[in-house]
């Protein structure tokens, strides 16, 4: 979380991923997929559901291996999962049998980076900041959707990741909570300049949050266009009324339309 020397430069070159299923023809989800995530920026990948966004996230996190191509973070090849790239999943992945506190403390204690007492102290600070301090002894099942997402972000931040990967993190939340969470993450990002890769299928969410929107095409998935979003920081929902926002939204919409109209889906 060093604001001066942002890290977390994720690079993917020529990624290919094919899923083999017994009794089915193999499905190529990603092909020739290239990606450059600028450190200290919030990059949004936008694409329709089923275009391979999650697969790309799992590859970057190191959960699965590509069939071809290379992946690196700050020049080091990605070969396995690690605390430098924490992924926040679509549906909550908090462990239901651990209290919020134990969920948040898990990483540093498991690695032996911090004693239980140190981790507890750090976790309390984060939970305080995230408005979850009164819920520290609750189980995830007892939290609302918005609280669960905040707890997950706190759980990730405990590990001082160099990049946060959020895979449609606010999907399934009601409209109100979703907007609150977007604003919430925006504040957090502006405070920390934590390199972020945010995956979504919602255009407005993408443009509101992003410094750059990467549009992903499907079958097979790859990044087909890149849109610079130079809306000012600190950013709040008032920006949604500005001409600049509308122009960028239009540009992104055009990119999506072209994608939908082209026969191969690659514009």
């Amino acid at each position: 979380m060093s604001k001066d020397h942002p890290r977390g430069h994720l690079v993917a070159r020529g990624l290919k991923k094919t899923y083999q299923q017994k009794g089915h023809a193999p499905v190529t989800v990603l092909e020739d997929c290239n990606l450059d995530i600028e450190p200290g920026k919030l990059t949004v990948i936008m694409g329709s559901s089923g275009c391979g966004k999650s697969t790309l996230a799992y590859l970057l996190a190191g959960y699965i291996k590509p069939d071809a191509g290379s992946l690196s973070i700050d020049g080091r090849a990605i070969t396995s999962p690690g605390p430098d790239r924490v992924l926040v999943f679509q549906e909550t992945a908090l462990w239901p049998w651990m209290s919020v506190m134990d969920n948040v403390m898990f990483g540093p204690v498991a690695r032996g980076d911090q004693s239980t007492a140190q981790a507890r102290k750090a976790a309390l600070e984060l939970l305080e900041r995230f408005g979850l301090i009164d819920f520290r002894d609750k189980y995830p099942g007892q939290l609302s959707g918005g609280m669960k997402r905040r707890a997950e972000i706190a759980q990730a931040l405990m590990n001082h990741p160099q990049v946060m990967i959020l895979d449609e993190p606010f999907r399934g939340l009601d409209e109100m909570t979703r907007e609150l969470m977007q604003e919430y993450y925006m504040r957090l990002f502006e405070d920390t300049a934590l390199t972020t890769l945010f995956i979504t299928s919602e255009l407005e969410e993408a443009v509101f949050l992003a410094d750059r929107v990467l549009v992903m095409g499907e079958t097979p998935g790859r990044i087909v266009s890149s849109i610079e979003v130079d809306l000012p920081h600190p950013r709040s929902f008032e920006v949604l009324d500005s001409q600049a926002y509308l122009d960028i939204k239009r540009e992104a919409m055009d990119a999506l339309y072209n994608l939908a109209l082209s026969p191969e889906g690659t514009g």
Binding site: Y63, V86, A93, A110, G141
Partner: protein
């Protein structure tokens, strides 16, 4: 009142469990009480009217009389309870102690799975009671053979439940732990084991019901003690009230066991109680 209803009208342990859970939430069910009273009344009438088939069956009044005069104060009767409970306890606990680790191993170790899973699949379809003759031949005492058969009743259920649960663990729960740098041992202890606890609970609920079924049948065949034997002796000696007393006792015993298992399960999963 409601718990008495449940045990009397639904002596089957599995059903009693469900009914017990429900009755705690509901106001007293007066129609149910009427039905229960009606049931005993009808029984009494049928016996007194000498309806065919009821000739050898004692009336509820007789049963209650015999229960109070010759059983409730008889240590031998309570010894039957204790004996059956002990057999269920040993067989059931042993099944959990061996079955849970075996299920975990089958689910987490590929080689182990390839080696031993076929044997499990081979033995699993054999009903526990089919083991009775072999068990008597193999074990030196009747007591051991009954505990063994009881054990078989709960063992395969728990193994299969745990094994299945390990295979269907939420992938994201494992991935998250890997991302945060947990070791394989930590993942096993803090992610895999808690993940399968709900399935262990299901295995225990099913297991305790089967265990009572099995122990009663095994006692009738192979033992000279226990509630199953008590019931069977009542039949052999043509003492109808004893048969009924045995049946009701077994029902209550099964119900009490499910209450205990229920209680244990709740404590195993504090995150599921709201």
């Amino acid at each position: 009142m409601s718990s008495v209803e449940n045990t009397v009208s639904k002596p089957h342990p599995g059903k009693a469990l469900v009914a017990g859970r429900r009755s705690r939430l509901r106001p007293p069910n007066w129609r149910g009480s009427v039905a229960v009273v009606g049931f005993f009344l009808l029984w009494e009438i049928l016996v007194r009217a000498q309806v065919s088939g009821f000739a050898q069956i004692p009336s509820p009044v007789t049963v209650v009389k015999v229960l109070f005069t010759s059983y409730l104060l008889d240590p031998g009767y309570w010894e039957s309870w204790l004996t059956s409970f002990q057999r269920v306890l040993y067989g059931f606990v042993l099944a959990q102690l061996l079955g849970i680790p075996l299920g975990l191993l089958l689910g987490t170790r590929k080689t182990f799975n390839y080696l031993f899973y076929p044997v499990i699949e081979l033995l699993r379809p054999i009903p526990p009671l089919a083991w009775v003759p072999l068990s008597i031949l193999f074990w030196p005492t009747a007591e051991l053979s009954i505990v063994f058969i009881t054990f078989i009743g709960a063992f395969f259920i728990i193994v299969i439940n745990v094994h299945d649960a390990v295979r269907h663990i939420n992938k994201e729960h494992l991935w998250l732990a890997q991302s945060l740098g947990a070791s394989r041992g930590q993942i096993f202890r803090r992610i895999i084991v808690p993940s399968v606890i709900p399935s262990i609970a299901v295995g225990m609920t099913l297991g305790i019901a089967v265990t009572w079924n099995v122990v009663i049948a095994a006692e009738m065949i192979a033992a000279d003690s226990g509630l199953g034997r008590l019931t069977w002796e009542g039949y052999v000696s043509h003492t109808g009230p004893v048969v009924i007393i045995g049946m009701i006792s077994i029902g209550i015993a099964g119900y009490l066991s499910t209450l205990v298992v229920d209680w244990v399960e709740k404590r195993m999963m504090p995150w599921k109680t709201r």
